[in-house]
Symmetry: C3
């Protein structure tokens, strides 16, 4: 149940980032709702397809579809009164990344896959929706940026697996892991959390 | 049967837009045929994969594959004698959008899915092939443009569902819905059909 | 067995191109490993999903996942000592294209699909991973370039089908076809192999 509700929040958060990211003056409601829905439903769709689930989650339970549509509509109108759109975008994206990664990791474990697959699919689910959004709206994908992005998702998925193995079915596991990813990502944006130099990409000197 | 033939026309129309959109002086036949095929088969492939169909439509019936390949070849040579390539591109895209949306909506209903899913998959099938094409050829996706694009697809899919529920199996249903989308889209391009202002994306004033 | 090992080499080669292509000064290890893995596992994932395989290959056998991750890490550190990154990128891409196309063609034939589908899926598997990489790293897709790209893949897949039908289960078939594609692609890059003019895209004169 906790994870169902967390999943819905993730859908809403990513839908909002999709609308903010693609929105240009004069675009119409339906186009932006479509893009918000693609952003928010994309990652989980790819997860279910790769895992050969019998039915993709939002085809089985159309509530996800409605939450994505409604959140996109909300964002469409809300941007008119919001001061700091870029700030909202960044926090909503961090929140969505955290929620999707953790919920997906949990669900994939639940279906009986190995931890390796659970972590991989958790990271994919968290990151891919945002990549589709960024490609469509000609924004350089956040995952290609300088700040931590894949790392918090990876560590959070890892933490979730450890928690699920050590305290199975504890209802707060997901909340711990989500908070962990969210805080790490926000710290990365605010404080410029970096790796030590030898873990950063470097070309040969005289290039 | 009608819908089978309409589907083939849709494949041909989108293949042509794929070639025109990606074609740059000096590109070779095979590369462009590949891109034409990706554009025309992409939307329906994603539809079948999301709905967990047992076999993707062009794997089951390779006629689709051949129509896509032949139309792409045709476009490759035809552009040499065509005056108004941009015009052909726009009409072929509108035609393909109309055909794919309606044929997909009908097929998904036929498989027993709910109207919500049928409309969603209709819109996805109609729009996604063009998005892939636009991303690959560095064209800003049409769906992100100022003119109506998602709206005609959505309304047409909606109309198709209503027609199928009120006059089931009437062979002209698909033709009505296709014409509706096509005309709406052409009007949008030619006459600059817009929404009333409050349905357009607006940022806060002093941005 | 041969094809299993060739497949692993393909994974490694494409992972390296993914890291080189996306790498920008200051990016961190995890983000680049993620992009290397997407590049190297993407094509085969799409193949298995389109063919409705019961389980995607790297979900069934996670060795693929580990080879992709390890090769990406290797590339991440190796670029510091490599003189000619663009050269390595081009050869690794040609090698990956050759391996993926041939291994996929063979595997699809083995599953009992028709030659048409085997060739189509071979070309898709070979090309699509690179397209995803190029889109994500804002590089113009190689398949859209002036040199032969889709053609060697297509001809190599064709050759593989002929070999498999005339000398079934001969263990060197795959090696012949891989060499054929690789040599053709390298010749295209080095010697500027082109088609005769009438097989190149040409717009109307007075455009």
């Amino acid at each position: 149940m906790t994870s169902y509700i967390l999943g819905m929040f993730g859908i809403a958060a990513f839908a909002i980032t999709g609308v903010i990211s693609s929105g240009k003056k004069g675009m119409d409601l339906f186009s932006l709702v479509f893009l918000g829905m693609v952003t928010s439903l994309g990652g989980g769709t790819i997860r279910d397809v790769i895992l050969s689930m019998e039915t993709v989650y939002w085809v089985k339970d159309t509530s996800y579809l409605w939450v994505a549509a409604m959140s996109s509509m909300f964002a469409f109108f809300a941007v008119r009164v919001i001061e700091n759109r870029e700030g909202l975008f960044n926090y909503a994206d961090a929140f969505g990344l955290a929620l999707f990664t953790v919920v997906a990791t949990e669900r994939v474990l639940l279906y009986g896959f190995s931890p390796t697959i659970a972590i991989t699919m958790g990271v994919i689910t968290g990151i891919v929706g945002g990549i589709i959004r960024d490609v469509l709206s000609h924004r350089s994908p956040l995952v290609l940026g300088r700040e931590f992005y894949a790392t918090p998702a990876f560590l959070g998925a890892f933490l979730m697996v450890i928690l699920e193995y050590s305290i199975p079915d504890h209802e707060f596991n997901a909340i711990y892991a989500v908070s962990f990813i969210f805080v790490l990502r926000v710290l990365a944006m605010k404080k410029g959390l970096y790796y030590p130099n030898w873990l950063l990409y470097q070309k040969k000197r005289h290039d």
